[in-house]
């Protein structure tokens, strides 16, 4: 009798354990909770873009549809040869500039549906507070376009950042730390490690000059490296504001030296 009981118990535990293991083996994705923005006196375009990127990839849930390009247009990479969203948003709807078009897309998405897609987007005001919507909008503009969101838009008029009031940005000039802090390694490989979304940093000094490297950081859309056309427009255009001159030169020197 006890033998039977133990066998039954073993079968039950093995089955339960098997399913638990499978569930642990797959990618672990957690649904994020929208965070409140505390932009306060730090309302720089870079801060907005960075906050918007987090909302876009996290709590906003935008990537569920816009990340694949099947349910909704892909916003971060090219769509139908028109470039990424920052490049194409100003010419989507006649009479609407980029900011007006994106705001309408977020708050009254039914007014204009991109041909070839269904009207499935909800009014995001029910999901996210307005300051987060503006942050997302700034992030989308930064994808191949110019960020035009202002403090007045966000509702923090008068609190526009002064450099003195803004929280101190990292002062490091260590190039490797800068690469990590600025999320460069999210797209560029180094030491043979990392994703090939942008050109590898290994041997970059052999391929292009220091001047080209500097331009690629400050104005990433000026040139597109061979073989990476499909990711054109992905790199943020905000490093000119994000990095101090010393940091920029440290990075350029470091990368140019990687032969």
């Amino acid at each position: 009798m006890w033998k039977t009981n133990l066998k039954v118990l073993a079968v039950a535990l093995a089955v339960i354990g098997f399913y638990t293991l499978i569930a642990h083996a797959i990618p672990q994705l957690e649904s994020e909770v929208p965070e409140s923005l505390d932009l306060g006196a730090n309302l720089t375009p870079e801060a907005l873009v960075a906050a918007g990127e987090r909302v876009y990839n996290g709590a906003g849930g935008c990537t569920a549809c816009h990340g694949l390009g099947t349910r909704a247009p892909n916003l971060i990479t090219d769509h139908a040869g028109q470039g990424s969203i920052g490049a194409r948003c100003g010419s989507r709807e006649p009479g609407k500039d980029c900011k007006a078009y994106l705001w309408e897309s977020l708050t009254e998405p039914g007014k204009f549906t991109v041909p070839g897609f269904a009207n499935i987007m909800p009014d995001m005001r029910r999901q996210l507070p307005e300051d987060q919507l503006w942050a997302v909008l700034a992030y989308l503009q930064s994808q191949g376009g110019e960020v035009t969101v202002t403090a007045e838009d966000v509702g923090f008029a008068g609190s526009a950042a002064s450099a003195a009031a803004a929280p101190a940005r990292s002062a490091t000039t260590d190039p490797r730390q800068l690469l990590t802090e600025n999320a460069c390694l999210g797209c560029h490989a180094i030491d043979g490690q990392g994703p090939p979304i942008g050109p590898s940093f290994d041997g970059i000094g052999r391929r292009i000059t220091a001047e080209r490297i500097r331009r690629a950081i400050l104005d990433p859309n000026a040139d597109t490296a061979q073989g990476f056309a499909q990711f054109a427009g992905t790199m943020p255009q905000t490093f000119g504001q994000q990095l101090s001159a010393a940091q920029l030169e440290s990075l350029v020197t470091f990368l140019a030296g990687r032969r």
């Binding site: 009798m1 039977t4 066998k7 039954v8 079968v11 039950a12 089955v15 339960i16 354990g17 399913y19 638990t20 499978i22 569930a23 642990h24 797959i26 990618p27 672990q28 994705l29 957690e30 649904s31 994020e32 909770v33 929208p34 965070e35 409140s36 923005l37 505390d38 932009l39 730090n42 801060a47 960075a50 906050a51 987090r54 709590a59 849930g61 990537t63 569920a64 549809c65 990340g67 694949l68 390009g69 099947t70 349910r71 499935i120 987007m121 909800p122 029910r126 999901q127 929280p167 999210g186 797209c187 990392g194 994703p195 090939p196 979304i197």
Partner: protein, 565 residues
Amino acid sequence: MPEPFLLQAAADTAGAYGQFPAIGGRAAVWIAAEVHLMFAAFVLGVPMFAVITELIGIVGKDTKYDKLSKEFTRLLVFAYSATALWGGLLLFLITTLYPRFWSHMAGIFHLSMWIYAGLFFVESFTLYLYYYGWDRWHAGRAKWGHWGLGLLLNVWGTIVMFIANGWLTYMMSPPAGVTAETLPSEVHLWNALANATWMPINIHRLIANAVFGGSIVAAYAAYRFLSAKTDEERAHYDWMGYVGNFIAISTFIVLPFAGYYLGREIYEYNQQMGITMMGGFMSWLWIVQAVLIGVLFLAANYYLWIGMGRIPGAERFMPYTRWMLLLLVVCWIVWGTPHTMIATRQEQAAMGGAHHPFLNMLGVMSAKNTAVNLMILTTFLSFLMYRRANKRPVVTWARTGTIVQATIFALAAGVVLFYGVYGYFVEAIVRIGFSVYQVLAVLFCILSVTVIDVFLGRKAESRGAIRWGEMPERSQYALFVLAVTFTWLMGLMGFARSGIRQHWHVWEVMRDTSQYAATPALGYAANMISTCVLIFLSLVAFIFWLGGLAERAIQKAAPATARRA
């Protein structure tokens, strides 16, 4: 460390949430709700087929079915109190750990809560009358009256479930007019109950309860089979296990269609919610579900194929089983292929795009729908072979009938394959419609072939009686695998249904501002599901053991009473 510009909201949570030691409030409510739900599913599912088997016994004048029905009901009596206990615990946990949320729900649903409690009383007493009146009202009109009690038991149980479903579906899909500013007293009770996902959940749960009840009963019978002392006992529990499994699998085959209906209503209500469920952070959940369902199909077919070993004449079908196994495994692999998954930039770069270059072809819905429909057809074929094994049809049109059946099978498989392949060459919106043709072909095959088989088997010669009880022990473990898998699947689907609300107590009406607002990843959810399954199965084992004790006491008392008489 948080970004300097992003801080967690200083939400006013004072008084909104209570604390629970060690595991936290969410885990405590999760366990209480899930275990309560498992017991509730059992006590709602079993009466459905208790009443059906009793009816078969009455109409066919076969006491074997009546005995089976009574045995089902005996399990209910013990399971009922466990359901109520866990329900009470859940209530206390919600009121103490989520008082603000409870206040919102009670403000809207208080009247239905009183009705619910009242019906629970009525349902309990109907069950006691049904079970304890079994021997007293065992013949003639009284027997029909007794059967009416069983029917009534199902009616009360269904209403109770519908009310509770109204509460939980309100949390998923509150009426459009209800916003964060709406006072609970302003919400019309009926509108809140009869929300967009209420009826789809009702139907889904009705079917799922029958599946679940059948599988637990089959596991009970398997255990009794393994511990049986006599051949008679073994034969009885072998038969009971077969009936339980038959109910579970035959109703399970219908369940995906109810699931499609629920999914469609979720999309209709809110596209974003639907996409979160199928293609958002929950997209990997469906791969785990595919693994479980694959196990269910394999275990169910394995049980039937082994069972054919005790049926004279089944040898002629056995060579086909290896090909059926191959088909099931291939279909399982296709169904479990990931496709539209949330991927990081690095993962997308590694794949060379949003989808895998090769698996992309197998993971699309065309391939998956084809795979699952072929699995259903294969399982139905196993049932048919099992049914036909010891029969030799004598009707004049027997050969023609068999050819027609085979043709229907081939046509159904052809339709499924055709639309599966054709789906690759059309737009997504057209492709989605193809699944309807595939499902209709399979349903038509199941219904028409069954009807033909019933007439074909009339007055059929027997190749020999089924040798009930002569089952290898390993077949019974397949029944345990089925029961554990169904239970785990229930926990997983519960997580899917509840998790798609994400950080909302009530979707877009009441936010979850507790420390547990983020919906956890599948690994954590799996730990919780496994914990709930272990608690449930341990308690069920204890309840069944109690049932066995009571049965032995009755058996001992019966001869003594007879001697005194």
